[in-house]
Symmetry: C2
């Protein structure tokens, strides 16, 4: 059986160094964006280096990934270092590097990850899933011919899809809110890595708000995992509802706040990111 393209993209091989633990991988043409890999795949790769580390304690609870430079097509090395292990929590530093033109390794992505042993506590959600039509009743957006990674997802916009008419400052959209059903195509059991990638599936909020398609790219993303591995298993291969909006656009950067729910309405992730835009 051929592995899912997402698992192929995330495949890491031990590079022989244990301190710090180093893996080698390669960017995936299947998850290619415009001038580099889909940022969600890079974030998932950073998490994967932690998940397959022999010293891992517990499950991911938070991840911050910083896109320090454009990742080039091809091979990279990635190190994951458990810098502090407590009784029930663990903190990680991750670094992804590629050789420059002179062959010297340069950092292209950094990440910090926190893992923890989850336990039952008092719990409550203040972010109920918004009332949107079911995935079956929303047509799938045809994304073939656009960036390659978009073909890896089945996306159904309940609200805030790609603008049909690009304008500019004279014809602002009323908000930057998108609500979209998303799942892997072909389907794949949800896990922490795929949930990480799905936290980055939203097209730039500025494209919706202005609406103008200016050059834009995520510079840092933070993901808080509220769901346990058991809750991800329950979500199965169902659709995920993703919601995203921005709070401010200024000085060449805007933020994006996002939430992801399982099809049955469990809040799985809250996320923020900061996005560069050109003008």
């Amino acid at each position: 059986m051929t592995k899912h393209l997402f698992d192929q993209a995330l495949a890491l091989q031990p590079a022989g160094s244990d301190h710090p633990y180093t893996w080698t991988g390669a960017t995936s043409p299947a998850y290619w964006n415009m001038v580099g890999p889909f940022g969600g795949a890079t974030a998932a790769t950073a998490l994967q280096a932690v998940l397959q580390h022999p010293a891992l304690l517990g499950e991911p609870v938070s991840l911050t990934v910083n896109y320090a430079a454009a990742t080039a097509e091809g091979a990279f090395t990635i190190t994951a270092t458990p810098i502090r292990t407590n009784r029930s929590t663990q903190h990680w530093v991750v670094s992804l590097s590629q050789p420059d033109a002179e062959g010297t390794d340069q950092v292209v992505t950094t990440a910090t990850v926190m893992t923890a042993l989850r336990r039952e506590t008092w719990h409550l959600s203040d972010m109920p899933m918004p009332d949107v039509p079911s995935p079956a009743s929303v047509p799938r957006t045809q994304l073939k011919g656009a960036m390659e990674w978009l073909s890896r997802y089945d996306m159904r916009f309940a609200r805030g899809g790609f603008p049909v008419k690009w304008g500019g400052a004279d014809e602002l959209s009323p908000d930057s809110l998108t609500q979209v059903w998303v799942r892997d195509d072909p389907v794949r059991q949800l896990d922490f890595a795929s949930l990480t990638a799905m936290s980055d599936v939203f097209y730039p909020r500025i494209w919706l708000r202005r609406p103008l398609r200016v050059p834009a790219g995520t510079v840092t993303m933070t993901v808080y995992f509220h769901a346990s591995g058991a809750q991800l298993a329950e979500a199965g291969t169902g659709y995920i509802l993703g919601q995203a909006s921005a709070q401010a656009f200024r000085h060449g950067f805007f933020d994006q706040s996002a939430q992801l729910w399982s099809e049955s309405g469990t809040l799985l992730v809250t996320s923020t990111q900061l996005v560069y835009y050109k003008e």
Copy 2:
């Protein structure tokens, strides 16, 4: 003239190593929390190590700080490393360490910081300052006798102050929303470091929502700086309006989303954090 207590708390001395650039500092009794320093002061210290680094490019645009372990009272060393410098952006890794009982340095806090040369672009805010009474018309909350760092701030709760009656699951508050005017006491010109600390002034959202005072502590915080240094200069020594609320409480962790505005209504910061709670 004696330096402001906040500047004393943030004072770092070169430790003699340039690669990575290492500073020494010490925790401040004036910013002491219950069992360690106020997390906002620690976050500000991590930023300070970047701000006074000779290789700094531009101004802070994002910061993530991870509280990997309790910081003990006393001295620490902090390293700030510019791991990637681009034309207009720069990425940093920061690490704060203290010796353990055997005298071996152990990491207690990590941070990643992004700085950038800000430039004028199209701009828009979708997070207007909420309509609250002016600072002068809201009484200052008396916090003397509580944790020491609280005495370093003038706080005036427009909404969501400390519960007057602690309950439990049978008497939930309707939400976890706090809106509070805050400024340094004595007053101090706002800058990126003080804005970082102010991003962490909110008491744990679970105390408000349940309302029950369970043990709780921030494990990671991300701050996006939307304001330029010039806009912080404009904010002067005026009050800052802080707003915070949670989206989910589960498995011993809850999130907090926050916004900070200048007294005149400019959105300065959006922030998120993940907070551990005991039960």
